[in-house]
């Protein structure tokens, strides 16, 4: 029984860390964007305040059960991925479900929440939500291709689908996978641009076009849950990249540095780009990123 409590406590700690780090990154991204635009920008903890404000909203409306549970679905994805993805190497508090699922499981659990959330968005009856969802799903088909190609290349090369094993490979060989499988890393990073939905791939939310798309009918506690889930999810994805390509992290500081370095890529790319149309975005992902994905697979086969 003690073990179970320990597991639960560990999970809670992991989630809290993920939430804090993730939401800070989002605030930092606002700050950095502002600096790029020659503004002072909000404080880096601005997103905390926003989340707190949303949580302290006293009223909320929903259009039906699916919208009500949509954020809960979203949370499943975020928390499950952060629990399965190894956050820190060899730290008992952060083991959680690391050995219960593998990369394929991660790929699919990552879709669970967005799909549930999309159902919630669909139930609102707001056309903007549905349009946003279709854009999001279409774009997902776009960026998953290079992303999976990169993963397949890694899995083929090291004969494992377990993230822990891939991490250990890097420790043993002393070389990060981003150097030993460079093409996979390039493809994966390009796919990451879509995954984080910054410009030019922010076609889902697209506040000026779609009134924030799927979230347009969510306010108050629903938006709060979605926002927290988004930050946890962002952290989970970054950690996954760090685990796969940068040899994981031994302590939190290392993790934060590595993840933030990765996080800068989509953010800075986004700050300087206008928005794509959906099909342009899809085709972009099926262009160079997929080419690099092919290279990665060929590389994996040859070496």
């Amino acid at each position: 029984m003690n073990e179970l409590w320990f597991d639960i406590m560990g999970a809670i700690v992991t989630v809290i860390v993920a939430f804090v780090v993730g939401i800070t990154y989002m605030g930092l991204s606002r700050k950095i964007t502002a600096r790029v635009q020659n503004r002072k920008g909000p404080p880096f903890y601005q997103n905390f305040i926003d989340a707190l404000k949303l949580a302290s909203k006293t009223s909320a409306i929903h259009h039906g059960f699916m919208q009500h549970v949509g954020p809960a679905f979203m949370m499943i994805t975020s928390i499950m991925s952060v629990l399965i993805i190894p956050v820190l190497r060899g730290n008992a508090w952060f083991v959680n479900l690391n050995f219960h699922g593998d990369l394929i499981f991660i790929l699919y659990i990552m879709v669970f929440g967005p799909l549930g959330m999309a159902l919630g968005a669909g139930q609102t009856g707001n056309p903007n939500s549905a349009i946003g969802v279709t854009r999001g799903l279409s774009q997902m088909v776009g960026f998953e291709i290079p992303w999976v190609m990169a993963l397949v290349a890694l899995m083929m090369q090291y004969h494992t689908t377990s993230i822990v094993d891939l991490m250990n490979v890097q420790i043993q060989s002393g070389m990060w996978l981003m150097f030993s499988s460079p093409f996979a890393f390039i493809a994966a990073v390009m796919a990451m641009l879509g995954m984080f939905r910054y410009s030019p791939f922010d076609i889902v939310g697209a506040p000026q076009e779609l009134a924030s798309g799927p979230m347009s009918e969510n306010g108050g506690k629903y938006l709060f849950t979605l926002m927290s889930s988004g930050s946890i999810f962002a952290f989970a994805k970054l950690t996954l990249y760090v685990d796969l390509f940068m040899g994981g992290a031994g302590n939190l500081v290392e993790l934060v540095i590595k993840t933030f370095a990765l996080y800068l890529i989509p953010m800075l790319y986004g700050v300087t780009s206008p928005r794509y149309r959906t099909e342009q975005s899809i085709r972009w992902f099926w262009g160079w990123p997929t080419f690099f994905g092919f290279l990665a697979i060929i590389y994996a086969v040859v070496f």
């Binding site: 909000p42 404000k53 302290s56 909203k57 006293t58």
Partner: protein, 181 residues
């Protein structure tokens, strides 16, 4: 524990602090005043540093910013938007037109006094108000929120019949969902 008065106070304090520093504005750009919003938000005045940012839909917004005159036609939409916003919510009247009709005071189809139809928390004077004035208005609003005095929404709920009567006076064909709290 929640019902405990002291803890309630603490919760209120924190909430109000958060509300104060995170103001999501739904700009209802009905009139010429909307032209002053972009300079307010962009690098010259940068309202975001105060936690003020635009919201995409009324569901997510905290503040309804009415920029300029309201015709009887747009009033209906504004009411609709206001009622769709989630509590707590505030209205900022922007420019002279919302105070007394401004230069359109004698037009047959504009609203002279916005407060008769929606509970305005803060007025920003001017025709147009410059971004400095806008920021100062928001500063006032933040102050009110922090003190817990920006209670326009409560007022609206309490005096709903009066507001409704006024609204229905100017809006001839009233087909709108009921506002039930």
């Amino acid at each position: 524990m929640i019902n405990d008065k002291n803890s309630q106070k603490i919760v209120d304090f924190i909430s109000n602090w958060a509300r104060k520093h995170s103001i999501w504005v739904l700009g209802y750009g009905t009139g010429c005043g909307a032209i002053e919003i972009p300079p307010t938000m962009t690098s010259r005045y940068d309202a975001e540093r105060l936690g003020i940012r635009g919201a995409a839909t009324p569901r997510q917004a905290d503040v309804l910013l009415i920029t300029g005159y309201l015709t009887t036609k747009t009033l209906k939409r504004v009411i609709r938007v206001y009622e769709q916003m989630q509590d707590p919510k505030y209205v900022v009247g922007f420019g002279s037109c919302t105070i007394n009709g401004g230069m359109y005071y004698d037009s047959y189809n504009t609203i002279n006094v916005l407060d008769k139809y929606l509970p305005v928390d803060v007025y920003i004077n001017g025709c147009m108000p410059r971004p400095e004035a806008v920021l100062s208005g928001f500063g006032k609003l933040q102050q009110l929120i922090g003190e817990g005095k920006a209670n326009g929404a409560t007022k609206y709920k309490e005096n709903l019949e009066w507001y409704r009567a006024n609204q229905k006076k100017v809006i001839p064909n009233w087909v709108m969902p009921e506002y039930n709290w």
